[in-house]
Symmetry: C2
Subunit: 693 residues, 2 copies
Amino acid sequence: MKIRFWPASLSSSLSSIAAVTVILASSVSFSQMSPSSVTFTNNLMPRPASLTATDGGFVLTPEFRAAATHFDDPRLDGAIHRALLQIRQRTGVPLPAKAAPAGTEAQLTLAVQGAGEKIQSIDEDESYSLAVTSSGARIEAATVVGAMHGLETLVQLVQPSGSDYVLPLVSIKDSPRFRWRGLMVDCGRHFEPMDVLKRTIDGMAAVKLNVFHWHLTEDQGFRIESKLYPRLTGIGSNGLFYTQQDAKDLVAYARARGIRVVPEFEMPGHSTAWQVAYPKLASGTPPPAVRTQFGIAPFALDPTREETYQFIARFLGEMATLFPDAYMHIGGDETPAPDWKTNPRILAFMKAHHLKDSPALQAYFNTRVLKILTGLHKHMVGWDEILNPALPKDIVIQSWRGEASLAKGAEQGYQGILSAPYYLDAMKPAATHYLADPLPSSSPLTPEQRKRVLGGEVCMWAEQLDEHTIDSRIWPRTAAIAERFWSPENVTDVDDMYRRLNVVSIQLEGLGLRHLSHEDAALRSLAGTQNIDQLRTFASAFEPVSFHDRYQEQRTSQLTVLNRFVDAVRPDPPSRYRIAKLTQSFLKAPQSDTADQAALNQWFEGVSNSVPAVEQQMKHSPLLAEAQTRAEQLPGLAKTAAEAIHLLSTGAKAPAGWKAGKLSEIETAKKPSAVVRFTFIDPLTSLVNAVQE
Amino acid sequence: MKIRFWPASLSSSLSSIAAVTVILASSVSFSQMSPSSVTFTNNLMPRPASLTATDGGFVLTPEFRAAATHFDDPRLDGAIHRALLQIRQRTGVPLPAKAAPAGTEAQLTLAVQGAGEKIQSIDEDESYSLAVTSSGARIEAATVVGAMHGLETLVQLVQPSGSDYVLPLVSIKDSPRFRWRGLMVDCGRHFEPMDVLKRTIDGMAAVKLNVFHWHLTEDQGFRIESKLYPRLTGIGSNGLFYTQQDAKDLVAYARARGIRVVPEFEMPGHSTAWQVAYPKLASGTPPPAVRTQFGIAPFALDPTREETYQFIARFLGEMATLFPDAYMHIGGDETPAPDWKTNPRILAFMKAHHLKDSPALQAYFNTRVLKILTGLHKHMVGWDEILNPALPKDIVIQSWRGEASLAKGAEQGYQGILSAPYYLDAMKPAATHYLADPLPSSSPLTPEQRKRVLGGEVCMWAEQLDEHTIDSRIWPRTAAIAERFWSPENVTDVDDMYRRLNVVSIQLEGLGLRHLSHEDAALRSLAGTQNIDQLRTFASAFEPVSFHDRYQEQRTSQLTVLNRFVDAVRPDPPSRYRIAKLTQSFLKAPQSDTADQAALNQWFEGVSNSVPAVEQQMKHSPLLAEAQTRAEQLPGLAKTAAEAIHLLSTGAKAPAGWKAGKLSEIETAKKPSAVVRFTFIDPLTSLVNAVQE
């Protein structure tokens, strides 16, 4: 570099490494501290199975080194490197980011017994222990996967203390409650670039999820390259798909983070893309083109022709070379297949094989596919619909229908994974997902049956999702669900969950996710200006409606541009929980609780005051103007809140008709508009209802 | 997807594409408008050479199609696709994102004469014309590169009008003022991931830059894979480097956007990494390791040994297979090389070859390297120091020393590129860079000499830069400089530049850059909370100090973690220009200008009021606490502003000693602290000085 100002004497004064070390040490304060001045703040998510803490901490300094005790492993070294980079970035302490050679004296030692399975199974030992003492930290684990979980915990432990960053003195013994802790991402309806998937996997690793379920084929697009059947992507996608190298890269990326990749190839329904590419696979008239509209397509693979199974066998054989996991997902859901009820050839086949109806025909199909998978040494996973007595007990049912369906499967001897309560596109708050337990102790299942519930999977369907909005739909809510899958059943304190979720959310952005940054960027784009202080305040009072409600209002298709106000705002934004809590607290003693009263008044006043500036911006942005009705409603609702709070705090009665009028106003505000909801409708209703009339 | 709520009737009602089209058309308003109701707002950056506008506009609808008139070209199709995607994302209009086949009737037609050069040269015809009429838009260009510039202009033209988005009726004829419009990124001192470079290139294309100068080797790291000399990266880097495939990918990515890639391999100085990897290349004792400290290293390649040239010839030959551009940059700067003055063998060589001093020896070296490059059919580019009468006139001098040095070279017959005024790490405001002209009409150069000034290059040196901070250091300032390189000399209205820069800045974030989002993300990380309303306000009053000042205060090295307050805040943030303008305006009529007075008071009050909350956050963040002194100073400075404004607006005199005291307070605030500067020091000084005493 050309440094015109560079002092001539500088290069010599800097010419030795030693000199630099001194300079570094003097530029940051690393004074040793009294360990007892550190009080542990438990920000861990998921919470470990067992943790004890004592006052005191180990101060992080530039001399901090990490090394395995006796066991060099590239995957472990990679995990140590990433953990140290995170610690550097969080603290500014310039510690070396690479693991020292095994056996080196170090402040972080990793005693790991072995590398773990070559292909991570659901029985991989994921347990670890972590102890921080005044002389450093030690992680013990049977496998590298367990050690990686320990490192993620270590990163979350780092906390400020005085002018230092420390590891608090803790002793942790930890292992997961469920073996299968997944996140499904639908890359069929909207393609997601590789870097989005990689940062999603980084986020999964941070919260100890261990299965990336990759939904690769849909009516709207076939997203994985087949060299045997190139038309699958050539004709069956809009040109956006993953190459085989991409798939291998992602599998390796996930494995390096202790995460399995379970691919899903939807059949016999949700298979428009297959049939457009290879019309001979269709049960009836092949579809004219890959669909851009959503909903259940009336097209299914033809289960009566041997060629169909030959095709599937060759295709899945090819996929097995890319995806080493022992499980393969064949979808199997939502196959209305009108042709199965009308095509004479299919009806004749059913009669000849004593298949009484479409479900029976699908069970036949599944049995055939199962045979193919068994030949490939793969277990079959499918959605609820594959559950059929015709199928053996070693298949896994992923339940989108709910806990009852899952339990029914377990009773019949099938293994299962719960997904129904973890649909992110329902736009429910984290707390709702969090409190849904895959296997509550109240469940009537026998111990044997309980073992069949492998765990749960978060589902991120992509009808109304693109690469810009995916992060804020997945995160941070998925971190709360990850805790449900990992931590003991009795970890259910919602207040504490939200407190920690706010912390882990920032950690996740540090990994490259943009779930927090996206909102402002989208608002700037909508308003066409960087002056979004008022718009940001306005937006903070809204959340997206559910997938279903948006579909009803907007008839979204794959062509819908996802750049609306609804795409900017976040599900379960901070205002939702905060206003609910403040209201709950205020209503306990409305005439004396001045703090909550003031906080509520201030918030409602703030969002209401934002409206005039936002309405000005709407005049210059047709997209933003979509929320015009919401802008008109907000000041009235805020005024209602203020009136209710005033009445409650003074103990005065409302004038006759006030309550009915206000409840009617609230009902109006609940109606669809701009496909967003007010976050405070429920607490506002409580406030109004609490007023005496 | 499992959609539990999906109405049974839906799949049939949605089963034809025609039905979907109707639904889309009804869900968004695309009514034809009276064209005369549109008034053109010129947000274009860079401004075109010539533009005429008339009232009226062409309304964008889902039926909008783009097609070349007669010429199918994959590069053009890609550019059309990207432009249409941007328009979709900006407007929400679900127009098809792909170019229709050439010759299709379309609302955007591209009449392009040819594909352009196989390897884009500095003489590529980049001109285009763009006409928008009431029936659509037409771009004409001699080459695809020209057409791509036209498409970028088209994207910037899109503006809201009523409830629509329109292309205003304009007629543009445009071509660049300079042929060489570059951005240099130093990937040696800090490695930048490929996705960062790709989005940087996207940003360059948006503002019509055409040279990505890739600084690939430094004392701190050799960043490009050599298969002939694998130790160059194996030993000469910290493991972070670009594979040959990466280099090919980036060259292709840039070419697809009309951008040349000029690689730089620094020699004979700035070459510690070469020498660590291959000690035989060293002039003296090879350095012990790749440097982590910055500054000028006392190591140079040995220009006296034939093996050195054999090595360079083989290496550059290998690089020529990756980088097709006609230019190759050999650095050549800052080569103090103490060994050249002491090594007897080198001294003997100099005597034998009649080389009187180090510059003469370096000229000899350059002559030898030039011969190698000529053999590879490459032109040599180097920094000022390569300018030496011993070298022929077909080399290009990149001037970091300044306009005078550039002019001197031109007078001597050398071609040149100006970089001195475009060093982004000087942390100067966009306006300063913007007003620096590579070739002002006042220059004494003859017409013949003027032709030798090829253009300019922005330089982004990376001592204090990482993948998180690079965007906000490059953008949006580089967009203003890009205008300097492209637009006519007389385009110098700084107010208008800032107005348009704010618009283009949002467009650039839409391309994936994070220069605006980064600040908040970094503040959240620093504070450890999402509650950054006050911290954001506080931070808005600061900007980073220059590279040099930061080095003086912090002694940054490659090990310094770049996660400080200074790394969060942006160079030339909005407050800088805004407060300067308000102050300038207020001082014109301080006793009557109540609007500016109120705006100034409000701003100073706002930043001052943010301090208590920020100081609370500092208690929990050692990193944030670095700015403690700044937090202590801010309320006093704001109070001074308020006092000065009050005195000026009332016409009252200040008490004796007031001014001296305040100026002293300001002087103190100018002193280094937390490696950030107050953005308002100059206008505050003006306010105080304007007060009568």
